[in-house]
Amino acid sequence: MKVFSSRRLGWTVLWGYGFLVVAYLLTPLIVLVTMAFSAGGTMTFPPKGFSLMWFPAAISINGLVGSFVVSLELALLSAFFSAVLGTIAAIAIANRRFRGKSLVTAFFLSPLIFPTIVVGVALLQYYRTLRYDNVFMTLLLGHIVVTIPYTIRTVTASLEVFDYTLLDAARVLGADTLRTFREVMLPIIKPGVFSGAVFAFLISFDNYTVSMFLADAKNITLPIRIYNYAEASIDPSVAAAATIMILVSVVLFVGMGRLIGVRGLSKI
């Protein structure tokens, strides 16, 4: 009986602590979002009055909308290409044994832990050496590198539960390789491909460190724009811009949660 009650006390303490940590995780964001609705001219908390005036101000920040479009295009294209390349890579390495497999897998996943800033520096030097100066393409190629591991991981995870005898069955029934892929494998690994693509989108949309070395005046991504503006301004328009960005991410994530479920998300 004593053991039981001390366990219950332990749980209460644990839950209380859990609430504290969640508060710590969420407070900075809640404070920032609250400031976006301030009626005052400076970022103070609690905000002075309520107004929506800083949202139009945020949208009219010089170049913000243009940067949003650049980042959106970049993130969509990165998500698409890293989903394609990541799926191909995952199918190639999953459930096969070949010489150097662990080395190839480590190489494919290494951008996850490799210092992103070094990727940026290396790409800057590489493009200069090759005299390649299509800035949007340099950004895209770099973003695909840092997002590929996410799609490889999610697709690999969905292939782990894939029953490979289905492939034999499809072949016996006369389907060729392409049809087997399209009609047997793809429908089953689809959630993995989609969640990988959404992750790739978010990682690309948020990337600062690769972009900062490659961006030029015409192709300033949203994180760079907000960084520069945040350093210089004191009014709540940055908070409003941040609130809009948070909203975009949350909508995307909830959409993905609908698609593959919270349990699926937690596995990534």
Binding site: V3, S6, L14, W15, Y17, V21, V22, L25, L26, T27, P28, L29, V31, M35, F45, L85, I88, A92, N95, R96, R97, V104, F107, F108, P111, I113, P115, T116, I117, V118, V119, V121, A122, L123, Q125, Y126, L141, G142, I144, V145, I148, Y164, L167, T177, L202, D206, Y208, T209, L222, P223, I226, Y227, A230, E231, V238, A242, M245, S249, L252, V262
Partner: protein, 316 residues
């Protein structure tokens, strides 16, 4: 005996079954052109846009460089000597390691109980807690760091609250210090610690704890002797993730140091963008790569030996 044990056996049985069939499959496909092509497409891409640029960066660090004329002179280790001889640069390396280690330890201590809680609950409660932990990851790191900049200002809310409850008398002056960078990094990387930890703790059979409890072990002893040793693979994974990412973090130190001190990534950026010394910048990048790879090697080794220990224990 236990659920996790039986699923373990079932899992390996299933693997053997499918393993056999996929072995037939791979024997058929091993030399097929389709497989080689599949592998070559992503491999070529990553070699051209990732592997090769890094090799060139490493090569560049071994030559002296003149921003006007390009590469001058031959092979040299001067860039590395330059870094290793100057106490100022070694100090930057030490700051990076110190900040990284502190952030990792704080995240482990703060995150462990939450990971345990997350692992031991289910249903709606679990989904809500999970959503709360994951949701900060959705917000741009620039914005998360910026919100700390606002919070920690002398005129900001934290300062006001601390003055109101009379912990401090004068406005907070933590911005532009290492403390501010650590506070923000702990916040930014906490989910990276909690998630791998929770995954591993979830796989520890709860009946082991009940058994320890029925044998008279209290909460603390159950934790020290049962849960923690079995969760070491998760501790290693979480620490590796937090340490490598915080050592190579750029945005947070750049925004919150206010230029008063440097860490390795901000030093790299400074050399590349302000001083335009590409060879020296490359050499510092290589030092950063070596640091990160060393961390990965150490923690992988630790995780591996821990999971051997773990499987030995579970089997008993």
């Amino acid at each position: 005996m236990s659920t996790s044990h039986s699923t373990l056996v079932g899992g390996s049985y299933a693997k053997r079954l499918y393993g056999a069939s996929s072995e037939i499959l791979s024997r058929l496909e091993r030399k097929s052109w389709a497989f080689i092509l599949l592998l070559l497409v992503p491999l070529t891409y990553l070699v051209l846009v990732y592997g090769l640029p890094i090799l060139i960066l490493i090569a560049r660090s071994l030559f002296s460089y003149n921003p006007v004329t390009g590469i001058t002179g031959g092979f040299t280790l001067n860039n590395y000597w330059h870094f290793l001889r100057d106490p100022a640069y070694l100090n930057v390396l030490w700051s990076s390691l110190r900040i990284g280690l502190l952030v990792t330890i704080l995240d482990l201590v703060i995150g462990y109980p939450v990971a345990y809680l997350l692992a031991r609950i289910s249903g709606t409660k679990k989904q809500i807690l999970m959503a709360c932990i994951v949701s900060p990851l959705l917000v741009s790191i620039v914005i998360r760091t910026f919100s700390w900049e606002v919070l920690l200002r002398g005129s900001g809310p934290v300062s006001h609250i601390l003055m109101a409850i009379q912990i401090i008398r004068e406005p907070l002056r933590v911005l532009n210090t290492e403390t501010a960078v650590i506070i923000a990094l702990v916040h930014v990387y906490l989910p990276f610690m909690i998630l791998p930890l929770a995954t591993v703790i979830e796989s520890i059979d709860p009946t082991l704890e009940l058994a320890a409890g029925s044998l008279g072990a209290n909460n603390l002893r159950r934790f020290i002797e049962v849960v923690f040793p079995l969760s070491i693979p998760g501790v290693a994974a979480g620490c590796m993730l937090v340490l490598t990412t915080s050592v190579s973090a750029y945005v947070t130190p750049a925004m919150l140091s206010g230029g008063t001190f440097l860490v390795m990534p901000t030093l790299v950026a400074q050399q590349m963008q302000v001083l335009v010394d590409w060879s020296f910048g490359s050499a510092i990048s290589v030092v950063l790569i070596v640091v990160v790879l060393t961390i990965v090697a150490l923690f992988s080794w630790w995780a591996e030996s821990a999971s051997k220990y773990r499987s030995g224990r579970v089997a008993k």
